[in-house]
């Protein structure tokens, strides 16, 4: 098995630990007994693998290490947010006292400096946490760079700024295997395409959110990106694409299923709402089916969450005013129980299929 990213390495390490524990149980129960030579060979092979994973991917070798990793990830994220905010407020605090030339030089050089520092840290930092923190600060500096140039020179706000932001975020994300910047880049891409679709219809670009259908084409395209471009090397990038795409598709659908007047469709708002309610239920059900078939947990979980939101929204529309509150919440609870039965049934069918195929 060719390990290409941290997630795969971590999974293999976990499998090795599980295997060791199960082997001990089998020996204790007298089911299996390996001689010392075989045991030694397996142990040496596993130690070599774990050592290689540790050097290449800085994996967590035990539960304590994993808990500390989660803490480091949270600290890295919060630190990046705080540092980005600090850069932002630092510039605002003093920029009024700088000449225009100095303002421009500072904005560009800080972006360049944080970018170079990010790449330098990436070489030195095996864990990747510090490089990721620096990358987020660098992206924030680039955003600040263009926003402030717009303010300094009274430039007309433009959606075209979203493109370089997206490019920079994706560049750093793919270099550092950084999901947060991947999400930032994808959001910029979604916003840019939505504004373009809107402006082709004569709309002012900042009003792009008023026509939720603008988001649908780019959401569909993004969903299939991981199928066209292999993302195996990158840690959970494919699920990030699919989850963002599903949200970018179904949240506008949810909006239009309750606010038909925002649609391009030349139909009455009630008809539009009916169409998008149907699309919401059918689409999320299709997403769950697709996820189960392709064994994509991210698609199944996002689909289920969105399906429940659609269902609860519709129930609220139908029954909130008509029913006493205890009855309304009782129905919600019973619906949840019904969904549990449905999913248990799906799971048992899946288990039978897996057994039959010998998985």
């Amino acid at each position: 098995m060719n390990i290409t990213n941290r997630t795969e390495a971590q999974k293999r390490a976990d499998d090795i630990h599980t295997f060791g524990e199960e082997l001990q149980r089998l020996e204790r129960d007298g089911v299996l007994h390996l001689d010392q030579a075989q045991l030694g060979a397996v142990k040496a092979h596993h130690q070599a693998l774990l050592g290689a994973f540790g050097r290449a991917f800085d994996i967590d070798r035990n539960t304590k290490s994993r808990q500390l990793s989660v803490g480091m990830r949270i600290a890295s994220f919060l630190g990046a947010l705080a540092l980005a905010a600090s850069v932002f407020f630092l510039f605002y605090q003093f920029w009024g006292w700088l000449t225009t030339a100095v303002q421009v030089i500072i904005l560009i050089s800080v972006t360049l400096a944080t970018f170079l520092i990010t790449l330098w840290i990436e070489k030195k930092d095996n864990s990747g946490y510090f490089a990721k923190l620096a990358a987020l600060v660098s992206f924030a500096c680039f955003v600040l760079n263009l926003v402030m140039l717009g303010q300094i020179f009274n430039i007309t706000p433009s959606d075209q700024a979203l493109l370089p932001w997206a490019a920079f975020a994706l560049l750093l994300a793919y270099t550092l295997d950084l999901r947060l910047l991947l999400v930032a880049g994808l959001l910029c891409v979604i916003a840019f395409v939505a504004t373009r679709v809107g402006t082709w219809g004569g709309m002012y670009w900042l009003d792009f959110g008023e026509r939720p259908e603008n988001f649908l084409p780019v959401a569909i395209a993004l969903f299939f990106v991981p199928q066209v471009i292999n993302h195996r090397r990158f840690d959970a990038f494919a699920p990030a694409y699919r989850i963002i795409a599903l949200l970018a598709f179904f949240l506008p659908v949810l909006l239009m299923s309750n606010w038909g007047a925002s649609s391009y469709l030349p139909l009455s708002p009630k008809t539009v709402e009916g169409i998008y309610q149907t699309l919401g239920f059918a689409g999320t059900a299709a997403a769950i089916w697709y996820g189960v078939n392709r064994r994509l947990n991210d698609v199944v979980n996002t689909g289920v969450t969105l399906f429940v939101i659609f269902l609860y929204t519709k129930m609220f529309d139908w029954w909130w005013e008509l029913m006493p509150k205890y009855l309304f919440f009782l129905l919600l609870g019973l619906t949840a129980v019904l969904l549990l039965f449905v999913f248990r049934r799906l799971r048992s069918v899946d288990a039978v299929t897996a057994n039959a195929s010998g998985e």
Binding site: I108, L112, L119, N145, F153, I155, Y204
Partner: protein, 290 residues
């Protein structure tokens, strides 16, 4: 796909430097050659921006206070004295009728949902257009004449007239179009008329309560100027420093900046020359205290 550090370094540097060069080239182009128009405005038209007046932001900026002339109130109107103050509520504009809206691309008639039992018209989204700003011209004289005409002698009317004479902005949006050359041919005086980018939002004007059979007519309102805030550079900062704003009107804080009409007690403390360049983006060319 090979995301080696060297490749990332080259692409990243090219992206940062390239994008900044494109932005700065745009600024250079906007400010190159003779300005498309130049206006000399006072504090009545350019208010010190209070919205960013905080300790965390050391910059100074000026807010363009623009207005548009609404139709003259009908006889018997409930509030004849106030209805000319367009900029406060973005209502109907005198010259923005159905014919003008058609020339701006608003060709679709309102969808009459009342006929099928609905309670509203279709969606109304603004479009990006060119707006003609007139400084201290006929539109302001009309507004002043109306203030005089509707002055009943009451204290409130006297105050409104006084504001129109000495405080309110004289910068009016007087026309809109899609072609710069056509607009400039009509409004040739580049020291009085500036052409800027802004937005017109469609609206419907009801003349009858029977909306199913007599639906409202298409009209419009000026909803926004794309650039209505001007940055003051360090070189001109001294002109505006120390000008504490009049805080006597608490309500002033509640008025959106894009529609704010100058309301402080001293409204002629400075004169500012603004140029609008090739891309119709403004910048302050000079400023002096009066």
């Amino acid at each position: 796909m090979n995301w080696s550090p060297t490749r990332t370094l080259i692409i990243g540097l090219a992206l940062i430097i390239g994008v900044n060069l494109v932005v700065l080239a745009g600024v250079f182009y906007n400010r190159s050659g003779p300005a498309e128009s130049t206006l000399t405005l006072s504090e009545r038209e350019l208010t010190l921006d209070r919205w960013r007046d905080n300790k965390e932001d050391s910059s100074i900026s000026l807010q363009i206070a623009w207005r548009a002339l609404p139709p003259e109130p009908q006889t018997g109107s409930e509030t004849p004295n106030n209805s000319w103050r367009y900029g406060w509520y973005q209502g109907e504009v005198e010259w923005l009728n159905a014919a003008k809206m058609a020339t701006l691309g608003f060709t679709r008639e309102p969808e009459n949902r009342f006929a099928s039992g609905g309670t509203s018209f279709g969606r109304r989204l603004p479009r990006d257009v060119l707006l003609v700003l007139e400084n201290d011209g006929a539109a302001y004289q009309t507004a002043l004449a109306r203030a005089i005409k509707y002055n009943s002698g009451s204290k409130e009317d006297a105050r409104l007239l006084e504001e129109e004479r000495n405080k309110n902005s004289r910068l009016f949006v007087v026309d809109a179009g899609l072609d710069l050359a056509v607009l400039r041919a009509v409004y040739a005086d580049q020291r009085r008329y500036a052409i800027v980018r802004g937005q017109i939002r469609p609206s419907w004007n009801a003349t009858s309560r029977d909306r199913a059979n007599d639906p409202p007519k298409l009209t419009g309102m000026v909803s926004k100027m794309n650039i209505d805030r001007l940055n003051v550079s360090l070189e001109l900062r001294s002109v505006f420093e120390g000008m504490a704003e009049d805080t006597s009107e608490d309500a002033f804080e509640q008025i959106p900046p894009s529609t704010k009409v100058a309301s402080a007690s001293k409204r002629r403390r400075y004169a500012v020359d603004i140029s609008f360049g090739q891309r119709l983006e403004p910048w302050i060319t000079s400023a002096a205290r009066k």
